[in-house]
Structure formats: structure tokens, C-alpha cells
């Protein structure tokens, strides 16, 4: 299975590879969620959904269902948070 934003742990970062769903809202792209950009998982809401990410300087909350469509490569640098 492909790694997506939904698989990030808190504080973990990744580089966006592609969108596995063509109809992802354009708004996400406009906020800077573009292939090649770094994305960081900042917080997870108490019921595990939605999640709160930082991408390209934009801090946004999205739902898990949408996060599942953003594929990425995790940056493994053992960030300590």
C-alpha cells in the first residue's frame, strides 16, 4: 500500500509525490499542497480525524479521507518533537 499523508505520525514530514485521486479539491493545491513540497503532520484531532498539517507554510486541517489521496515519501530524520 502506498504511503500517504494519513500515515504520517505527529511531527513527521514527507515530500508530496502525487495525488491518487484526480478530483482532489483545487483549493488544496492553491494552499500550497503541490507535488514536491514538504508536508508535516502537526496535530491529530482527538477522535483521530481531522488532521492538521503544515505544507509549504500553510497550516491547514483536512479530513483523513482526503489525506488518504495524497501520496508521499516520508522523510526519515528521526525528528524529535
Amino acid at each position: 500500500m502506498e504511503t500517504t499523508v494519513a500515515h504520517l505520525k505527529r511531527g513527521q514530514k514527507g515530500i508530496i509525490k502525487e495525488f491518487t485521486e484526480n478530483l482532489l479539491p483545487i483549493k488544496l493545491l492553491e494552499l500550497g499542497c503541490l507535488p514536491g513540497n514538504v508536508i508535516e503532520l502537526v496535530q491529530v484531532a482527538p477522535l483521530n480525524d481531522p488532521i492538521y498539517i503544515n505544507v509549504n507554510g500553510s497550516h491547514i486541517a483536512i479530513r483523513r479521507e482526503m489525506a488518504l489521496h495524497i501520496a508521499l515519501d516520508i522523510i526519515e530524520d528521526n525528528m524529535v518533537i
Partner: protein
């Protein structure tokens, strides 16, 4: 009139458009709606150098010209439609210094429409702390535009902005990005088919996701044939366009915008950790809600009592000063009472919006959405619906107004429609007196039956709200954006000026918007209650006086005397004076009761008796149900008048109600069955004209309040009917 130039403020949400707007216009502003829709329209006048005057429009926030909601399409429509009277001569794109990259996306789009544009880089005060440096001159050159570096907080750069606006004729009108490279053939064809039109403008018209309003449809009717490409194909092109724009922007910013990454950034992270924490997050939110609740429920009481007192003495004064007659009564009991009924809500509205403005200004509101989204989602409500629903427990009026913060129209509408189910404080007087009358003594698990009843009524209110939300979510077919992308803005200290403007503006919009309707209905209700066509009504004084002389006082007055004679000392030399005064008052009360019985309102009450009889009510309760449409608490006062007892003497009213016998059954009129039926009726019925007026204002149509009125009343009727028939 001197020539005015049209200026539109446009930009991402939370970049400070409204703050810039407030700086430019001061108190020269007004807020209304765009015709036919519920998007807020903020406009104002600004005086510029060299005697120029500008009409300023604060547009709803948008991330780009690709619209996904009604709010955004308002902005785009205005930019595209040259015939609109507000079509801007110059667009001010407000961006914030920290998110400049993202903000420039919108800026390049507006430039590409060839609308003269000024870039405002706001929040300049944050630059040093964030380690940001910008080469403004170079950036101006690269964007081929003018830039004002502004801080509305420190009030710097505003004059420069004024200069730039006044000088708008010299703004370059060149494009930034040539988007035709994303699909050369397609755009080529477009250009040859519509040689007179701008290609980018055509592209926008073709790709609009949402067309709530007829864009320049007449002009572009044929352009829609160019949507030949499939929807997903167009979407892919839009994605390409976005990427292309970002390439352009990244190229420019590389040379002009520097951030020192070592600058402080811990504040946000720390606060987020606490405020969105699994436990503390909810705890803090709960405490905030509690404070809000306390403010509108508790603190508002003092100013409300003052207002009440003021209008009571004003009414008295009018009656004493003006010559008695219909006109005086109209002023005293119709108009003054109506205005009092509007002004009384101001403290609650002001308090609620003080808090909401603070929550919005600080950036906390987005965290509320983040915390509550998962919980509210199944009900078709927004995370932001929590605040209105909870405030509804104090009063539905400010609560309905508070739904303005919900961006998604469907979620907002559902919240508006279900909020009046929550138990507002006006229901309490009705609940308390009926519970005291019909619910037996005794307790269960240490809680008295009376307390349990009250609690169930609150829970039922919430239950009804949630349940109807679920149903409405299923049946309302409203096109609105279905995805959830919420920006989490930086935490900021609130700008008190902005908070003040919000409170002022909300209060004004209630008083002058919904107030008209409330005043009109109060005057109608007053007229119905104090006029009649029958001889009984016209000769009420003589008839009642004669009856009292011949048959003595009625049973009601006897109860009235009983309650009052306790305090009377027979040996007191003034006793007979006091007795006389009591009798005079009793006579006046009997006349008032007799008049109400024979007024139009009285006949209406009798007319609806067949309808309310199955619920266990008689015509007197029927009248009270009608009059309490003004506000639920009027129920008690009306019964007091009908039963000819003093208006503010709770004990007497209660004793009198307890003594009332249903002529049909010869049992007490207020028994467990009819009492529970009344409680349920008041729990669910839309018995509040002010709420209807506010819903009308907030939804911009009579359709929704009318639906609410019919549905809630019907539902209340059925529930009350079932309860009475089961219990009797």
C-alpha cells in the same frame, strides 16, 4: 456628486482585509447583503488625497478565482462583470507577510484579468519577529505593480496606500502569467472564436465550479460550448495552471523574499499542543463555552433589568402625561412595548458577539472547528455550530446571528433551522410555573421530580435539534462545497478596534434589520388584544362594575384578596384604606380580564379552542398561546390578565391557576396531563416572533422562517396531543 472610484478589497481569508477596510473607512461603513443571497456585503466611503473619494468594498475571503462557494463566487462575479455598478476601478489585494507566496497566487490571477491592482502586504509588524525581509522595489518591478507595506495594527503604510489608490490611473495593466502554455491549442481556439474577449477571462467563466449567479452569461453563452473538455480534464488544467503560477511566484520570491528560519516559531506550536489536546483542548473549549453562557445568561441580566425598568417607567410616563385615548395606548402599549422588546436583546447580542469576535480574532475559532468536526459531522453540522447551539440555550436571537461564522451555507442553514429547539431562557418562566403546578413532590435518586422534569426538557430540546439536523441533512438538496479544508491561522492578540466594530455592527443589524419586523408584530398583537367590536368590549367598565356591585367580586379576586390580606393588620388605622385600594385594583384587574376576553384576541382564543381542546387547554390558554407568540414568557402575563390577577405577583397567579377548573371535566384545568402537554408544546413550538424575524434576516427569505414556524408548531402540537391523550 464628485466622482467616486470603486475599490474592491480582495484577498485570502484572515489576511486583514476587514482591518484595512476599517482603517480606510472608519465609521463610514455599512453592512448589508448582496441582493438575493445571504453573503454579507460590507461597503464604505474613504476620502483620498487630492479630493478624490473612493467607494470601498470588503469582499469575502478567497484563495483564488476558482470558486468553490457562494462567498467566493461573489468576488469573482464582481471582477468579471464590467457592468456591475461596483465593478472595481482598482483592486487592492490584501496579503499577509508570512503567507506571501500563497497570497500572490490570487494576485497574479487578478493581474491577468488586467484589472489595475495594488498589492498590500499587511502585518508588517510581524516581519522582524519572523525574520522576514522583502525587497519591495524589486518585487514591484517583477510583478509590474505597486505595493504598500502596511500594518493595520501599528497603523503604518495606510497613507501610502491612500496615495496609491488616488493615483490608480497610473497603475500598469499588464498580465503576470500567460496561462495558455498549459494547453496551447485549446487557448488558441478560444482566442480565435472570441477575438474581442480576454482569454483568461473566458477561461474563468468556463471553469467556474459554482455558478450561483448569472455571470456574464449573456455575453458568454457560447463560451460554455468550450467546456467540451470533460470535467476532470478541465480540473487537470486548473491544477496545471496552479502549478504554473507557483513556478512564476517561486521564481520571483527567490530574489525578493528572505526568511531567517532561526526566528521564533514556537508560540504557535506550543499553543496548538495545548488547545487541540485530547483532554485539555475540550476542557478549555468547555470553559470558554461556559463563560459565554454565563455572559449571555447571567451578566446580561443586569442591563436587561435596567432596560426593562426604563421601558416600564417610560410607558407609565406616557400614560400619565398624554391625554388618555387610543393614541396614547398605541404609543405606550404598542410602540414602546415593541421597541422595548427589541432593545432588551441588545445586551445578549453584544455579549455573544464580543466573545465570538474575540475567538475569531485570536484564531481560536479554527481550532474549535478542528476539535469538533468529527463529532458534528454525522449531523450535517459544522464544528462551528457548537457555539450557536450552546448560546441558543440562553437566547436563540444572538445564536442565529452567530451562525454567520459558518462558511458552508448548508451547514449554516441547518444550524439556523435547528437552533430554536434548544431551551432558551424565555421558556423558563413558563416551565417553572407549570412544573410547580402539576409535577408532584417526590424524588428519584435524590433528584426531585421537578428538577428531573426541567432537565428532561433541556435534553429534549437538544435532542430535537440534533434529530432535525440529521433529517435536514438528508433532505436539503443544497449545492455547496462538500470537502473540508480549513486554514489554521496564526494566533494573534485581538485588535480591539475590530472587535468593537463587530459588536457595533451586529447590534445595529439586529435593531434595524430584525427590529422592524418585531415592532410590526408587537403592534399587531397589541391591537388585537386591546380592541374589540362587541358591545361587551366597548362597555366593559360599566358591565364589570355593575356585576361587582350586584354579585360581589369574582373568585379570582377573592384569591387575590386572600393572598394579600395576610399582610393586613385589622388594628392598623390605615387598614380600611388599604382594603379600599385592594378593591380598586381588583376591579381594574377584572375589567382588564373582561376586556381581553372580548377583544379580537379573545375571540381568536375562543375560535381556536376546538383546536387546542385535544391538548387539554381551554380558550384562556388558547389566548395565552397566541399572545406568547410575541415571546414565550408573555404566556404567564397573559394568563394573569385573563384571570384578573396582578401581573407581577407570581404567588397569586399560581394560586389562581391551581384553582382554575375545567368546566368539561370538573377537574383542575392544570393537571398532570394538560401541564405536561403545555410543557411539551412550549419545548418544541416556534413561539417567538423575534427568532422568526432574525431567521428571515439571516436567510434573506421568508421561506425558511415560515417552514420553521409550520414544522415546529406542528411537531409541538402532535407531541403535546399524544402526551395529553396518554396521560389524561
Amino acid at each position: 456628486m464628485s466622482k467616486q472610484i470603486n475599490v474592491a478589497l480582495i484577498g485570502n481569508p484572515n489576511t486583514g482585509k476587514t482591518s484595512v477596510f476599517n482603517q480606510l473607512t472608519g465609521l463610514n461603513q455599512k453592512v448589508g447583503n448582496y441582493p438575493g443571497i445571504t453573503v454579507e456585503k460590507k461597503e464604505g466611503i474613504c476620502k483620498l488625497p487630492r479630493g478624490v473619494k473612493a467607494h470601498i468594498l470588503d469582499l469575502p475571503g478567497t484563495y483564488s478565482l476558482n470558486t468553490t462557494s457562494l462567498d467566493e463566487s461573489v468576488a469573482v462575479e464582481l471582477l468579471l462583470n464590467k457592468n456591475d455598478k461596483d465593478h472595481p476601478d482598482v483592486a487592492i489585494v490584501v496579503s499577509d507577510v508570512e503567507n506571501l507566496k500563497r497570497n500572490l497566487l490570487l494576485f497574479t490571477q487578478i493581474k491577468d484579468l488586467k484589472i489595475p491592482a495594488i498589492l498590500v502586504i499587511n502585518m508588517a509588524d510581524r516581519m522582524s519577529r519572523k525574520g522576514i525581509t522583502i525587497d519591495i522595489e524589486l518585487l514591484e518591478k517583477k510583478l509590474n505593480s505597486k505595493i504598500a507595506l502596511v500594518s493595520t495594527r501599528k497603523e503604518t503604510g495606510i497613507n501610502k496606500l491612500r496615495e496609491l489608490i488616488a493615483d490608480y490611473k497610473n497603475l500598469p495593466k499588464t498580465q503576470n502569467v500567460d496561462i495558455s502554455v498549459i494547453a496551447p491549442e485549446y487557448f488558441e481556439k478560444l482566442a480565435t472564436t472570441f477575438p474581442k474577449e480576454d482569454v483568461y477571462k473566458l477561461w474563468l467563466v468556463i471553469t467556474q465550479d459554482v455558478n450561483f449567479m448569472p455571470l456574464e452569461k449573456t455575453l458568454f453563452k457560447d463560451a460554455s460550448s468550450f467546456a467540451t473538455k470533460s470535467k476532470s480534464e478541465l480540473k487537470r488544467l486548473q491544477q496545471k495552471e496552479t502549478i504554473l503560477r507557483y513556478q512564476f511566484i517561486n521564481g520571483i520570491l527567490k530574489e525578493t523574499y528572505k526568511v531567517d528560519l532561526n526566528a521564533a516559531k514556537g508560540f504557535r506550536a506550543t499553543l496548538d499542543k495545548v488547545l487541540t489536546h485530547k483532554i485539555f483542548g475540550y476542557l478549555i473549549f468547555f470553559l470558554i463555552l461556559l463563560t459565554i453562557f454565563q455572559a449571555i445568561y447571567g451578566w446580561s441580566e443586569y442591563p436587561m433589568d435596567l432596560i426593562d425598568g426604563f421601558f416600564a417607567s417610560a410607558t407609565e410616563w406616557v400614560k400619565d402625561t398624554l391625554p388618555p385615548g387610543v393614541f396614547t395606548n398605541l404609543i405606550a402599549e404598542g410602540i414602546l412595548a415593541g421597541i422595548g422588546g427589541i432593545v432588551i436583546f441588545i445586551p445578549q447580542i453584544a455579549f455573544l458577539f464580543l466573545f465570538i469576535a474575540l475567538l475569531e480574532e485570536t484564531g481560536y475559532m479554527s481550532r474549535v472547528v478542528f476539535l469538533m468536526d468529527r463529532i458534528m459531522r454525522p449531523f450535517g453540522l459544522s464544528g462551528k455550530s457548537v457555539v450557536p447551539l450552546i448560546s441558543g440555550t440562553a437566547c436563540a436571537i444572538p445564536a442565529v446571528m452567530a451562525t454567520r461564522t459558518i462558511e458552508n451555507w448548508k451547514e449554516r442553514l441547518i444550524t439556523i433551522l435547528v437552533t430554536p429547539f434548544t431551551t432558551c431562557s424565555a421558556r423558563l418562566p413558563v416551565y417553572l410555573i407549570i412544573i410547580a403546578l402539576v409535577i408532584p413532590e417526590g424524588s428519584f435518586l435524590g433528584l426531585s421530580y421537578k428538577a428531573l422534569t426541567l432537565m428532561s426538557l433541556y435534553l429534549m430540546g437538544f435532542g430535537a435539534a440534533i434529530l432535525s439536523a440529521v433529517i435536514l441533512n438528508k433532505i436539503l438538496k443544497i449545492k455547496s462545497k462538500s470537502f473540508f479544508v480549513v486554514e489554521m491561522p496564526n494566533y494573534k492578540l485581538p485588535l480591539l478596534k475590530n472587535v468593537g466594530y463587530t459588536v457595533l455592527e451586529k447590534t445595529k443589524s439586529f435593531v434595524f434589520g430584525a427590529g422592524k419586523i418585531i415592532l410590526a408584530i408587537s403592534i399587531i398583537l397589541w391591537f388585537l388584544g386591546s380592541n374589540g367590536f362587541s358591545d361587551e368590549f366597548k362597555n366593559a367598565e360599566t358591565i364589570v362594575t355593575k356585576r361587582v356591585e350586584q354579585e360581589g367580586f369574582s373568585a379570582s379576586s377573592e384569591i387575590y384578596f386572600d393572598t394579600h390580606q395576610d399582610g393586613l393588620d385589622i388594628n392598623d388605622p390605615n387598614a380600611s384604606d388599604q382594603q379600599k385600594e385592594l378593591e380598586e385594583r381588583a376591579l381594574a384587574q377584572e375589567i382588564a380580564g373582561y376586556k381581553l376576553e372580548h377583544s379580537y384576541m379573545g375571540y381568536m382564543g375562543k375560535a381556536i379552542e376546538p383546536i387546542v381542546r385535544p391538548l387539554g387547554y381551554d380558550w384562556k390558554i388558547g389566548i395565552a398561546v397566541i399572545t406568547s407568540f410575541a415571546a414565550r414568557e408573555v404566556f404567564v402575563g397573559t394568563l394573569a390578565t385573563i384571570y384578573s390577577v396582578g401581573n407581577d405577583e407570581e404567588e397569586t397567579i399560581k394560586n389562581r391557576m391551581a384553582a382554575e377548573v375545567n368546566p368539561r371535566t370538573q377537574k383542575p384545568l392544570f393537571n398532570l396531563a394538560s401541564g405536561v402537554s403545555l410543557l411539551l408544546f412550549y419545548a418544541f413550538a416556534m413561539q417567538c416572533m423575534s427568532t422568526l424575524a432574525v431567521v428571515k434576516r439571516e436567510t434573506n427569505s421568508w421561506k425558511w422562517p415560515a417552514g420553521q414556524l409550520v414544522f415546529m408548531s406542528l411537531f409541538a402540537y402532535i407531541v403535546a396531543l399524544i402526551a395529553y391523550q396518554l396521560l389524561k
